[in-house]
Amino acid sequence: MNTTEKKRETQFQLTQLCAECTEKTKISHRPKRSFFHPRLKNFNRVEVHRSRTHGGFFQQIALFCIELYEATGRRYHILNRLVFPRRDKIYGKPNPHHVITGYLTFGTRKKEADSPVFNMHIELWARTYWGAYRKLNEAKSDRNGAFRIPYDLFYVQRLYIAKVWLAVYQTGHEHFHSNGQHSPEYKEFKRIKISKGDLVGIEYSCKQIQLSYWEYRQDTPIPRVVIRHHDRHAPDSYTPGYNEAIEKQFVPIELVKLRHIAMIRLNQGLTQQRIVEDYPENLTVCMEKVVPGITRSDDWFGRRMMNGMYACDFDRDPRNPQLYWVHHHWSSYDKTLHHYAMPDVDMWFTLKEDGLPLPVKITLTGPLTKNESDPKQKRTFTPEDGEKWLAAKRICRVSAALHAELAHHFSGTHLNIEQYAIACFRNLRLNPISGLLKSFLRSVVLLNHTADRILVGNGYITSACALTPKGINQLIYKVMGTLDWRGFKPMQPISEAHTAAKAGNLFWKIVWDFVEGYIDQPDNRAAILEHWFELYCFSEDLVNKSVPAFLCNYLQHALLEGNGKLKENTDWYQRGHRMDLTGERPMVDGIPKAVSRITTKQDGHAVTESDIDLLKQACTYMIYQATFGHTWSNSKQYDDIGEVLYCSLGLRFGNGPDGVLGPETDYSIAPDLTRSTQMMWWSNLLSRTGYGFIIANEDGDVPPDLQNRLESHRSQFEELGLDIDIIQSRITI
């Protein structure tokens, strides 16, 4: 058998084994929480070290009582609605000369106090002494946030009217009718009590009503929402089904971690192997059991770099266009190099016949042992370097995993979508785009709020790699500076085997067709134009709050002329899924911003087809990133960082003479035991939500049209190795 045939056979074996193990380790959402397991109230109770679960008998009784109380409260409200229905009927004859006025603004006190909340639905209600509700009138706030509600003074002053209040409603469009259309749903957001005696006719002014409604945080340059209390005063909430699913999936995993932490504390001989064995088997563990060493091979390395969780950006090397180049730059960010190695990584690949990449060279820049201090020391490794090559690949895997976690996953989807979510919920109410987007943008702000505590900042990543909280923030800030919807298209496939890119492009096309169909639907189009001002404000909020645009020094020199124009012969750089360098960046106070304006027009009459096209592009981008973009970087974590020795988010210098280049058997390089079990816990947690999928549509908020379109492409996705059942309908974890 010649070498080529041997290679083909190995390749076939790898593909076969990968398929088998993928099927075998496919997340079945088992094991599940049993009756005797601790309880978890919601996702915000999750902690890296010891989650706030309720395991003790009395704790469980207490939690049961709380839940019973909450359920009783909910049932009381349902009963209240049944006994005292709120009829959609105006009582009395509203007199235009007797009005209640006021104006709505965002924020509290002086923060954002001049920013009006427009198109907010407002109702004036009264309640009789026997509990019946009486709707007195309704109105909408105008562009300046001002409202004016006429009411019938003599009806309000009837003896049986006990109290009067003004209710401000937030508008949602989340649930679709069977015909695929939806109507606005109003949920009470704020109630302003008005003394009945104060209503004496002519004009009663509520003056400025400040709504702490999707407020921007002032303490960070990244557009984030204010969440004062996750469970009580958050602008968004998880659905009960989500909390239930998380509890079922998560508690068994948490118990494994808790057992490991106890074993570490009692020094009961826990090892990295034992840690990996205790968690559900993942893809690499499964494959290693069948063919030891197969997941450390060059073929597997290239395959995962292209189509795994990492889904690296394969640019051609400008100095050698035959090779593909992947670079991870860590030296610009604040780090502590006491325990963890974090060199800059350059990987070069060549494409095999089957279109999959094969690593040919790796360059590591920076200290690789505890004793080194030169941050610019470069070392290059090739497949001929034996053990060192294996170690270099391991460093690359870790680097790619951390990059995928922070840049693709957390910044690229979570924080990126949060900025759109805030602008959307703040501004879109009557515009049908609200109905198009809101269901996809739900819950992300709550997850990010939790991630601030457990993942970034002083969370897991700081303790598991060399990056400091400041370094993480620097990275996030810069990555956010490269993200823009304008001109975005998924990464272009560099070969037939580039399934990650192909699946991305297929999904993009489906979403584009869906968005186009929705926006071009005549009723929707008319309403979009009618309420175009909402889109204008949405766009302005996005741009004004977006971080400054960022392009690293290297790319500035390599891609741009001195006048900022794109150079010729820059085909080596994949531009489709990156910031559009051909257009001008929007400027705010002289600073070029990362996110482009969707429109500059305030009025629907001035809107042209090109404006509509931009809107379609922006909507497609948001939906794509919240669904497919997040699913890809999130669900594959279980496959690619579910084995501590294979890959983690950080490697220590170790105690050996070669530092981080030591073999896998040197456990002083791998994360310590605590970090190892936490790593496994993370990868399982993130991949095991089991809730919020487009096809399953548990909450009934996925547009049926999108479901149908996706279903009709099931086989095409299967050919690309993607099960459409796992594509999330929003960022769920």
């Binding site: 003599f154 002053q157 004496v200 006719g201 002014s205």
Partner: protein, 363 residues
């Protein structure tokens, strides 16, 4: 085709509502009057408001050729003795930013007269019904020359009324325009139902002083304090008026504005926070008042102006609830108990002290 049947049920409903409305107006008025009698008139010997003022006597002469349907009381060319009283609302300091007033009594007596009129500066008022007046009283909260902050916050119409009605440092009471604001009944000899508003303006066309300038319009309405560095005395306006009358008679024109009632009249016609359109409701001369002698503090304090002193056909309009715009005049008319209580208490306990010319300001 519309039914010709009389909507008996609706009429009955209206009648019942009006009946209970009238009871509520009566109760509210009595209750308020009682409170005012006890806590204002008896305990402090004070007027309901406008304690700071000066009275004067003279005569009133109705115009010879009236341009409006004549009421029997307004006999052309007839001259009657009269008294007037100029006042300032709430504060005992002429230099503060307050509403000024003029009350006219068409007789030279302390109380009895065929006709009294009460007028304030500004074409519109700060409150418009008994209910709103009660709110006005509730949210008064005076402190260092600042009052009604909460009221102005809740009721923009009050702010508007304050801007229109308040005067800062006018040069004289005699060059201001005073309006009755709330309409009164006007049933002329032709028996056509009309509503009337009265005003008093200087006899000679001279510009009104004391109108709020840009600075004062920006200043919150509740801030009625004197200007920083103010040198005018607390009584400068009263002193100026005394001086002016001593030198020569002061003359005013009493004018009338009429609105012919119709079945489809908007209730807003009675709203004292809305001025009638002058193009369709022109001001017409009714009489000329000539003042030639001022009265002292004691006489001025003992005087009572009452809306009960109105001739037949020129009375107040009926009101059917405390939210009715006309209820304000009902309250004015039926709160005489408090006025008499004040005079009786003065008779028993003595005259309250005159406003001193000292440095205690903004009170």
């Amino acid at each position: 085709m519309r039914s010709n049947r009389i909507p008996i049920l609706k009429l009955l409903q209206t009648a019942i509502r009006r009946f209970f409305g009238r009871i509520s107006v009566w109760l509210a008025t009595k209750f308020f009057t009682l409170l005012l009698t006890i806590f204002g008139s008896i305990l402090y010997r004070k007027k309901m408001s406008h304690n700071n003022g000066i009275a004067a006597t003279g005569s009133i002469r109705f115009v010879d050729n009236p341009e409006f349907p004549l009421h029997p009381f307004f006999v052309p060319g007839k001259t009657m003795p009269c008294r007037i009283r100029h006042g300032a609302a709430s504060f005992m300091d002429d230099a503060m930013r307050v509403v000024r007033s003029m009350a006219v009594k068409m007789a030279d007596s302390r109380f009895k007269s065929p006709m009294d009129l009460e007028m304030n500066t500004g074409e519109t008022a700060l409150f418009w019904s008994i209910a709103s007046f009660f709110r006005f009283a509730k949210y008064k909260k005076t402190r260092f020359g600042v009052q009604y902050e909460e009221y102005y916050r809740r009721y923009p119409a009050g702010v508007q009324g304050a801007k229109v009605g308040m005067r800062r440092n006018p040069t004289s009471f005699s060059n201001l325009k005073y309006y009755s604001q709330t309409p009164l009944l006007y049933k002329a000899e032709d028996q056509v139902l009309r509503y009337a508003k009265y005003r008093s303006v200087p006899a000679e066309p001279i510009p009104e002083t004391g109108l709020l300038d840009e600075y004062d319009l920006i200043l919150p309405s509740e801030n009625q304090r004197i200007l920083p560095g103010e040198t005018r005395s607390r009584n400068y306006l009263k002193e100026e008026y005394e001086e002016r009358v001593r030198e020569a008679p002061v003359r005013y024109k009493l004018q009338i504005q009429l609105h012919e009632a119709s079945d489809d009249d908007d209730p807003e016609v009675f709203n004292c926070c809305r001025a009638w359109d002058e193009a369709s409701h022109p001001w017409m001369d009714l009489a000329e008042i000539t003042i030639n002698k001022t009265l002292d503090w004691a006489e001025s304090t003992r005087m009572i102006f009452s809306m009960k002193n109105l001739p037949k056909g020129l009375g107040i309009l009926p009101s059917y609830s405390i939210y009715d715009y006309n209820s304000l005049n009902y309250l004015r008319k039926h709160s005489d108990l408090a006025r008499f209580a004040r005079v009786w208490t003065i008779w028993l306990l003595g005259m309250p002290p005159e406003i001193p010319d000292n440095d205690v300001r903004n009170c």
